[in-house]
């Protein structure tokens, strides 16, 4: 592991919760890389020419900050509780998530179910296609050469790196996304959650469980392998 600049966990421990900024706004980092200067130059030119406004950029950022894995988790928890919804979700992802107020414009959403016999995991070998509208921006590793290259070749080894060790009897299916078609994994409902309500169940549904690199959490809120 050579990359220590990606939100190191030790770093977070020093500062409490990573989103807890305390009473003071941290200073914005000054641009230092070539591409950071280019970002500023292009944005300024587009604003000067009236192609976009600064407000539109801010609003778009805010819109996307609101797209978080908790949205996908609501969809999964509903499917665990409501068999008719699950049937609709697996038949037509776009239509079903719209029932919960989630839009998936211009793209086809296909939801695939993990069972005791089949485990699905999603990848985009060609770029970074991801169900962003339900999970937010993809994690860095999803876009990495290592994940994109290896997942289709040795999925079990990749899953083991994520701490997910599946029995040999479980069939592993790798689903390669495209620019026009996005997949979302419906993880298995954990045992021991009978009688749980939707909100409670949704807390067990992690981002990685909807990518397929992990299972849903145990009823105790722990990772299971």
């Amino acid at each position: 592991m050579t990359h220590d600049d990606h939100g190191d966990e030790h770093h977070d421990h020093d500062h409490g919760h990573p989103h807890d900024h305390g009473p003071f706004q941290p200073d914005l980092k000054e641009p230092s890389e070539d591409w950071e200067f280019l970002e500023i130059a292009l944005r300024e030119l587009l604003i000067d020419k009236g192609v976009i406004t600064a407000r539109e950029v801010e609003d778009k950022i805010e819109e996307w900050d609101g797209k978080v894995p908790e949205n996908g988790a609501k969809v999964v928890a509903r499917a665990w509780l409501d068999p008719a919804f699950k049937k609709r979700l697996l038949a037509d992802g776009n239509k079903a998530v719209a029932e919960l107020g989630f839009e998936f414009p211009g793209l086809k959403l296909v939801v695939i179910e993990n069972t005791s016999k089949v485990h699905n995991v999603i990848v985009c070998t060609l770029c970074s296609c991801y169900p962003r509208a339900l999970l937010g921006l993809p994690p860095l590793w999803y876009k990495s050469r290592e994940y994109r290259s290896r997942t289709v070749r040795e999925p079990r080894a990749v899953l083991r790196e994520f701490g997910t060790d599946l029995a040999d009897s479980v069939e592993v299916r790798v689903v390669d996304s495209t620019a026009d078609c996005r997949f979302l994994v419906l993880p298995r409902r954990p045992d021991g959650t009978d009688g749980w309500n939707e909100e409670h169940l949704a807390k067990l549904v992690t981002r990685d469980s909807m990518i397929g690199t992990a299972l849903a959490l145990t009823p105790q809120g722990e990772r299971s392998s």
Binding site: H6, F37, L42, R43, V51, R145, E146, S149, R153, A179
Partner: protein, 109 residues
């Protein structure tokens, strides 16, 4: 057989996955936002496939060296010029001005 593009890496051998989490920076989120704005219904300047074409035709060395959002920025720049929204001369000039502004603001220690 057709030669595989630089982006077509499925099945290649590669090392362990760096699973560190990374909170996108403000600059990265701005690039993301601008890209979406260029393709929205109001502007509709290009399609997703044109983004992909621009990124996937990068020279292999450049593609590998660039971070994810650097590739997006490369596409943004290329397509803005291609579509006649900006010229290369305008971009170079503004880039120099932005750099000069930050250099001037640099505290002298």
């Amino acid at each position: 057989m057709t030669k595989r593009g630089v982006h077509d890496m499925g099945g290649d051998a590669a090392g362990p996955i760096d699973r560190h989490e990374h909170e996108p920076s403000l600059a990265e989120r701005r690039i993301d936002a601008m890209m979406l704005l260029m393709r929205d219904q109001k502007r509709h300047l290009w399609l997703t496939d044109e983004n992909r074409r621009t990124i996937e035709s990068m020279a292999p060395g450049d593609y590998e060296a660039a971070g994810y959002y650097e590739r997006w920025l490369h596409a943004l720049r290329g397509l803005l010029v291609e579509k006649g929204v900006l010229t290369e001369a305008e971009i170079s000039e503004r880039l120099a001005a932005v750099r000069a502004r930050y250099d001037a603001a640099e505290p002298t220690a």
